[in-house]
Symmetry: C2
Subunit: 453 residues, 2 copies
């Protein structure tokens, strides 16, 4: 153990500069113009796995962006850890709100600013450098396998067939993922549940062309107005979601479970101040922690229609659009919610308006057990490096692949994430604290050691 701490200290600067190189590749999976960048990024990840000590690494083509797979088998009788991460990132816009280029990483006040710094390149690269440490210092106590995919931000569409086709090759004892956050460096935590996702795009069409709002306004239904009315009706006055059947399968927590959940440190005044809002919002009858942890939600991610540029244009547009996503909790099922939403939304349209609802990607909610060997190994690793046992929390985000690993490979997952909630993932000025990056590299080998014991 002494040896690996020393090795990491000696190589700290290189570990950081290599990550910056990775962050310079604009691997935006949602935009077709970045297709070549995705391949460049996959090549980078493959090479870094080989350099770190993998016996083999390969780029696995899919119908979408490629998956990078690498492995090092020390001894077939040892346990095997399958680490999952993703090299693709969210789009960077709105670009004008970045203080520095999203793909031109800078380090300021001990933080790495770049798209993907935390989600998930920074966290993926911790595993690569942890592997290097273990291999170079002769401390690799398990067999290791790595799946670093390129479509997490667009729904992991081609991961399921990849898993199904490679069940034998991917045999392991646990899945380890660093793609979540902890409360703070002072209050380390491990997420034990993640929400599922149903992401819909809606298109509302009125007249067959854009009209002059003076000549036709008032006599023809305006698709923007109608879309707003439809969206407004999706929450009632208590901010419950009105989609018929939406809550039917929601697992209610016991009072005891809710009490436990609300023990996590949370300062509503600090929260409001940090977000610049004068009040919080949400479903009546639940705390902020519950609203993001155990309750399903429906959020507007985008809306557009009509004239949206400088100045004024008196148009009554033909169409209006919105992107709407729902976070799901156990035991909601993504496909079922997509269908309930579609049916409900179509029914909301008045005469004279046609509606088209298209699902984007979805994913199932997941709860990870806290009493198994893997969670214990993670908790002990964190206690060793942070000096404090981690708090189990419920995360609001979604990593749909977790239920996929369980279904396809029969594996449980441990979510050992080192991000912070204020890392601005999916936002301008995404960052990752240098200290968290190093702490992750330091903690991961402990997990391997603990898990092997």
């Amino acid at each position: 153990m002494q040896a690996w701490t020393e090795y990491q200290n000696e190589n700290k600067e290189r570990f950081l500069s290599e990550l910056l190189d990775l962050l310079r590749i604009p691997s935006v999976s949602a935009k077709s113009e970045h297709k070549d960048d995705m391949m460049t990024c996959a090549e980078f990840v493959k090479k870094s796995l080989l350099d770190a000590g993998c016996d083999s690494a390969e780029i696995c083509e899919t119908a979408g962006h490629p998956i990078v797979y690498g492995e090092k088998i020390v001894d077939p009788s040892l346990p095997t850890i399958l680490t999952y991460g993703h090299y693709d990132v969210q789009p960077a816009d709105p670009m004008e709100l970045w203080d520095s280029g999203p793909f031109d990483p800078v380090i300021k006040d001990g933080r790495i600013y770049a798209r993907g710094a935390c989600d998930d390149k920074g966290q993926v690269y911790m595993h690569v450098k942890a592997l290097e440490t273990m291999v170079k210092t002769g401390n690799l106590a398990c067999n290791v396998k790595y799946i670093i995919e390129g479509e997490e931000e667009v729904g992991s569409t081609h991961l399921a067939p990849f898993l199904e086709e490679n069940v034998e090759k991917l045999k392991a004892d646990v899945v380890l993922v660093s793609d979540t956050s902890m409360i703070s460096m002072d209050d380390p935590s491990i997420e034990t549940g993640l929400r599922g996702l149903a992401y819909m795009e809606v298109e509302v069409t009125g007249p067959n062309r854009d009209l002059h709002s003076g000549v036709y306004g008032g006599a023809v239904a305006n698709p923007i107005t109608i879309l707003c009315q439809m969206i407004a009706s999706l929450h009632d006055e208590n901010n419950h979601i009105t989609v018929e059947g939406f809550y039917d399968k929601v697992a209610e927590l016991t009072e005891a479970e809710r009490t436990d959940l609300n023990k996590a440190p949370f300062d509503v005044e600090e929260y409001k101040k940090e977000l610049g809002i004068s009040d919080v919002w949400g479903e009546k009858g639940y705390t902020s922690l519950e609203r993001t942890g155990i309750r399903p939600t429906l959020e507007l991610n985008g809306i557009w229609g009509g004239y949206i540029q400088e100045g004024a244009k008196t148009v009554l547009p033909s169409q209006a659009f919105a992107k709407i996503s729902m976070r799901l909790v156990p035991d909601q099922v993504s496909k079922e919610i997509e269908e309930l939403f579609t049916k409900h939304f179509e029914k909301l349209a008045p005469e004279g308006i046609t509606v088209k609802v298209t699902p984007h990607h979805g994913g199932e909610p997941a709860v990870t057990p806290t009493d198994g060997k893997a969670y214990q190994a993670a908790a002990k690793a964190i206690e060793t490096t942070f000096g404090k046992a981690p708090i189990p929390t419920r995360g609001g985000g979604s990593i749909p692949i977790i239920s996929l690993f369980e279904k396809t490979l029969g594996l449980k997952t441990v979510l050992m994430g080192f991000g912070l909630d204020n890392d601005n993932i999916h936002s301008p000025n995404e960052k990752y604290d240098v200290a968290n990056y190093y702490k992750g590299i330091e903690t991961i080998p402990h997990f391997h050691k603990n898990f092997a014991e």
Copy 2:
């Protein structure tokens, strides 16, 4: 009269090709990138007025886009007609919906397709060619003055000071405007009323930055959702506008006036078919003609917020925006409505959300008398060239300068427009029928002759 018909027949093709040259200039007043094009267009108009026979023409600089002024004084004892029009056009987007370039005019099936073909370059140029006809054939029976401005589509901001500074120079007996439409070539009509306008931009702000909708969604008010709720509440279930005090000054028409108004030919089935909608929409208790003619309206002209590109992004945006315009009827006052709207909209915002409301341009509603000499001269001119007396109608659009001419110069206006409602003004594939263009050139000299008598 024989002489001018002959002259026009001989010069038909040139009249058309000159208009196409004018349409090739992308004089979009709303976009700063077209500043130079605006000047090019003003120069074109000035030269065309001089070529047509004006004694003088000048480009009058304003704090915005320039105004072109021209005149020809035949005899100070004769009546003077002040013709008003505009050389600026609406933005052309969405560009992808045009079948040919908006500034690359084509003639197809007897129609001129180009941005500004009808609104208002085509109609302005009818006056230029009518002047040429009258001058060249020795038939100019009145003094003529021309104001062709470059800011009609952005609120005519700098026209008021121009009028005020030039009251003496602009002395006239009537204002003649061709910037409206008629029912059809078989049912010629003259608009006798136009609605006013209040055009607002609203900005709704929640958290101080874009957030991850999984991590924060459900616990923080989403500006898009809130904006939709606010917009949805602007109409009640009868499609009445809910802005407090909005209807207070609306002049109600008598039953007799409403009956008259509804005599205009209007086939609702044809209307629905032409627009591709299965039903009409609007304020309960009023017909479609009333909804666009005598009732005030509130329309969404644009909305945007969050992620609006290809694919999916799970963002809870910091802000959402909308452009909202209201058409006003006598005796509503634009400034007052702006204030009522602002007050009402600000009050709609829940805790945790801040709202900013900014007015764009506005304008007052106007009604033109049908019993005066000018209207009679126009009606007689149309009867001569169309073989049928025109129907007086109420137009839904706004030409705010009409009340301005009355207030500043004490002049009544005649709205002798030759467009058609299906000319797609403000929309992709704007067109103007070649036949309407020639009919206008033929009719305008009759107006001058009648008015001089």
